[in-house]
């Protein structure tokens, strides 16, 4: 049976869905689609990668939320009862290939042991029901598909029940469902698999009822990943494992400076390498050019590239120097910029106490474990592409544009991805466009057949699309009681969104929402916030938790410093400053205090507590950490985390996401966690120079979830932001040093 996901308007119409869910949640119950969009828009302040920040017009939202829905399938029930759920998101570690099927299976009353899952290719039907493009990001896969997937399950269940009732000549109301079986009066039983064909012939029901959450058997239960076995045995195929008959492998020599061009090159030595078939000049990102070496496999192609002799023309492009950039950013930071948030700063000059602080954050590479790759099979009348992408719709259009085809001539197959952290959600589709250009050059050279473009780790580290570097400057006036009188704050950095299709929606009055997200909130402080959008010839991108990677650090270390300067317990101080309107922040702080033993438990000598709380993607996370400093080296021993992500769909996955995100946050504090440039050239090559967290860095982590009945919020990213500030706050307690620079450097602090 295939359940077609028809027009959302129809399915989510005013009376289409009734629900037993308590009214506290953003339930779909009796809610019109317009109201639903509105609710999500309001509740989803930071829900997306900032895609829908406060201030986004409702018109824009409504327009974006109107995808067309040609018939397509999310659910297939085979005669052998196997339930296959097709998910319209990229699976790259965050666990949606398990938790989205859980939503369908719950409402379907499927036997979880029979549920499988697969990734959807690019197609209109798979567009995000809220955003109108097929994408994965903003920690929103569960939040934005919560109703859609439950509805698909509920409708399929209703059709199976109707099919059984017709077969048995009873009323549907006389039937119930349990573990992929319809059970009728008098002990009648039929499996979903046996009913699937008959059910498929039925019309979609107008009205379905969501389960009462009290009856949940799957949602809310810690559920191991569907792909755990395949991923523990080498059997899981990723994009890099794609193989096609006759396929060749290409590596590209890209310009040493972003956007530079090949002046001339000598391919003779490359062509002399056994297994190298062709050496071709190709357009590269940002108007540059490079040289593709195409061979029988990665190794010959890579050897061929190493043997290339290329002279580059870098004259026309800006050559960024990190030290000079930092100095320029600092100079800008002391001048007022474009106002993002206003408040009266008159009290600043005469404030009895003051903190003036300047923060520095470097560029960061995502460095997912699977190096980027993209397989392209280009023909006269079509193009098939296989890659792990977070942006199917955008990439599909870019492939069509590059290949000179119509989008419907492009088939884009979503491959399981070995991490991404934002690097696979590229508004310019850089690595996909480049791969299509390689395929074009390959064909233009008289060859045919598929080509897989592979990136080395060095290519990845050098490849740009970094978390932008930033300087923050804060000037805070406060009184003896710790009351903040005026907080003047400036942020300098490159806008992630300027020049992208997202700019009209997410850059308002010159302020990029992803640069300022997380500033101020949830504290009731008079803050004037201004920004400078710096320009630099370095492509930048969202990096797991986006703006909160730096704003949370600045906010939570400064709040801690204010508490310390005012001689108030940092948790108490936070609660005072939050006021009454932030119950989820308070709930996570309280839970983390309770579970960590903060204030009660005696820590070993030389250890100290550190605290931070931050909400991103509508999920509040508090960490209470235990750290020490040994011979100038900070060490994180333990993290007690409390999460408020509303209804916990898969607690096992939530715990994993928190553990992973906080470790990535810890990684940003380690020496070497920085991308720097000199004369426009990235100075780090591989994991030898670009530090990421390793096993010995992993603290003992306990994660606790605040129970909630409300509609779920994000989980892929919110676990990252509060880690580094909590760690820094503990170090400040131990050393008296406020670390204002990432990665940490106690010597210069």
């Amino acid at each position: 049976m295939r359940i077609e996901w028809m027009n959302t308007e129809e399915l989510s119409g005013a009376s289409a869905v009734t629900s037993n869910e308590p009214p506290s949640g953003a339930s779909m119950s009796g809610m019109s689609r317009r109201a639903f969009i509105k609710t999500v828009g309001v509740a989803g302040g930071g829900l997306a990668l900032g895609l829908f920040m406060p201030g986004v017009s409702r018109t824009a939202l409504a327009q974006a939320a109107k995808p067309s829905f040609p018939p397509q399938a999310f659910l297939h029930i085979a005669p052998d009862n196997t339930v296959t759920v097709t998910i319209n998101r990229l699976e790259f570690g965050q666990g949606v290939q398990t938790s989205l099927p859980m939503l369908i299976a719950e409402e379907l009353d499927a036997d979880w042991a029979l549920v499988r899952s697969e990734l959807a290719p690019a197609a209109d039907v798979y567009k995000d029901p809220i955003f109108g493009i097929q994408m994965t990001g903003g920690s929103g896969s569960i939040a934005r598909s919560y109703n859609q997937f439950r509805e698909i399950g509920a409708r399929a269940r209703a059709m199976l029940v109707t099919a059984a009732a017709q077969q048995w000549q009873v009323k549907p109301e006389q039937c119930k469902t349990e573990k992929s079986m319809v059970i009728g009066p008098g002990g009648k039983k039929a499996s979903y698999g046996s009913l699937a064909d008959a059910a498929m012939a039925l019309p979609l029901p107008d009205k379905v009822t969501f389960k009462n959450p009290k009856q949940y058997r799957i949602v809310g239960k810690p559920t191991p990943r569907l792909d755990a076995r395949a991923k523990s045995s080498g059997k899981q195929a990723f994009g890099i494992d794609k193989s096609l008959p006759g396929m060749k492998v290409a590596v590209v020599a890209r310009p040493p400076v972003f956007g530079a061009k090949v002046a001339k090159f000598d391919a003779s030595k490359a062509l002399a390498v056994g297994g190298v078939i062709a050496v071709l000049e190709v357009p590269t990102d940002r108007g540059g050019s490079g040289v593709a070496v195409i061979g029988d496999g990665y190794w010959p192609a890579k050897q061929g590239r190493d043997a290339l002799q290329i002279e580059w023309n870098t004259a026309a492009v800006e050559k960024v120097d990190s030290a000079m950039q930092l100095a320029a950013f600092k100079a800008l930071a002391s001048q007022p910029g474009t106002v993002a948030k206003d408040a009266d700063m008159n009290a600043l000059a005469a404030a009895p106490k003051k903190i003036v602080a300047e923060y520095e954050f470097p560029y960061l590479a995502h460095a997912p474990m699977e190096p980027l790759n993209c397989t392209v099979d280009l023909k006269d009348d079509g193009c098939a592409v296989w890659t792990g992408t977070q942006f199917q719709t955008i990439d599909q259009a870019a492939i069509a544009r590059t290949a000179g085809l119509k989008p419907e001539q492009v088939s884009l197959n979503t491959m399981m991805a070995g991490g991404g952290f934002g690097r696979r959600a590229v508004p310019t589709s850089d690595f996909v466009v480049e791969a299509v250009n390689v395929a074009k050059a390959w064909r233009a050279s008289g060859k045919s057949g598929p080509v897989k473009v592979m990136w080395s780790r060095e290519d990845d580290i050098h490849g740009g699309y970094y978390r932008p570097s930033h300087v923050h400057r804060a000037e805070i006036g406060f009184d003896e009681a710790g009351k903040v009188l005026a907080w003047n704050h400036t942020i300098v950095g490159q806008s992630i969104l300027a020049g992208t299709p997202f700019e009209p929606m997410m850059v308002k009055n010159g302020v990029d929402s992803t640069m300022v997200e997380g500033m101020g909130e949830p504290y009731q402080v008079p803050m004037k916030l201004s920004v400078h959008n710096a320009h630099a010839n370095v492509p930048v991108l969202w990096w797991r938790s986006v703006g909160s990677t730096h704003t949370a650090y600045v906010m939570e270390t400064l709040i801690d410093e204010l508490a310390h300067a005012s001689d108030i317990d940092p948790i108490e101080y936070r609660k005072q400053l939050m006021g009454k309107d932030n119950p989820r922040h308070v709930a996570v702080l309280d839970l983390a205090v309770e579970k960590s033993g903060y204030g009660k438990k005696q820590l070993p000598a030389g250890h100290a507590w550190g605290v931070a709380v931050h909400k991103s993607f509508d999920t509040a996370v508090a960490y209470i950490v235990e750290a020490s400093v040994d011979k100038g080296v900070p060490k994180l021993h333990r993290v007690t985390g409390a999460i408020h992500c509303n209804r916990a769909i898969n607690p096992m996955s939530i715990e994993a996401q928190a553990q992973g995100a906080l470790l990535m946050g810890l990684g940003t504090t380690l020496p070497g966690a920085a991308i720097t440039l000199k004369d426009g050239v990235v100075q780090q090559q591989n994991f030898s120079e670009y530090t990421v967290a390793r096993m010995p860095d992993m603290p003992v982590v306990d994660i606790h979830i605040v129970p909630s009945q409300d509609a779920p919020t994000g989980m892929g990213e919110p676990g990252l932001p509060p880690l580094a500030p909590a760690f820094a706050n503990a170090i400040a307690k131990l050393t008296g040093k406020r670390l204002r620079k990432l990665p940490f450097d106690l010597k210069t602090a």
Partner: protein, 152 residues
């Protein structure tokens, strides 16, 4: 042409002798369970066993492995220790993106062959060469200890 003994079978590889084992496995033999992560022995994604010892296949040329025993992730299911490690991985729901896990399983299996009851420090030492960007280290630690118990 180089003859490699992989998972107990002799296999002919038509590749330059300087080709790393990783690429012979992946591109010549279509054994893609072993992963490419850094190409410089820095991340451990490509870990295989050479005569039982964990090595980084991305920098080890096939010429140096001729006549020796290469064992890859594909053989772990039929290996007592490897199977225990895999089962523990599933039980503890270790993988996230999963890309590094072949290498993690190979390093963990090698550890448990020589150390029946590894401490946290032993695990740190044996596993620090295997990067996981998703941050599954805590569950890896728990899974290794669990596998050790199963094997005891």
């Amino acid at each position: 042409m180089v003859t490699l003994n992989i998972n107990g079978r002799d296999m002919q590889v038509e590749a330059d002798p300087s080709t790393p084992i990783l690429w012979a496995l992946r591109d010549n033999l279509n054994m893609t369970g072993t992963k490419f992560g850094c190409g410089a022995a820095l991340c451990g994604a490509c870990t295989v066993h050479l005569n039982g010892q964990p090595i980084r296949s991305c920098i080890t040329p096939i010429s140096s492995a001729a006549g020796q025993k290469i064992t890859t992730i594909e053989a772990m299911e039929a290996d007592k220790v490897g199977k225990a490690v895999q089962d523990a991985w599933v039980k503890h729901d270790v993988p996230q993106c999963g890309y590094c896990q072949s290498g993690q399983v190979m390093s963990a299996t090698a550890l448990l062959r020589t150390n029946k009851s590894p401490s946290d420090a032993d695990i740190d030492a044996a596993m620090s060469g295997n990067i996981c960007r998703c941050g599954t280290y805590q569950r890896i630690r728990a899974a290794i200890k669990d596998a050790a118990k199963t094997l005891a």
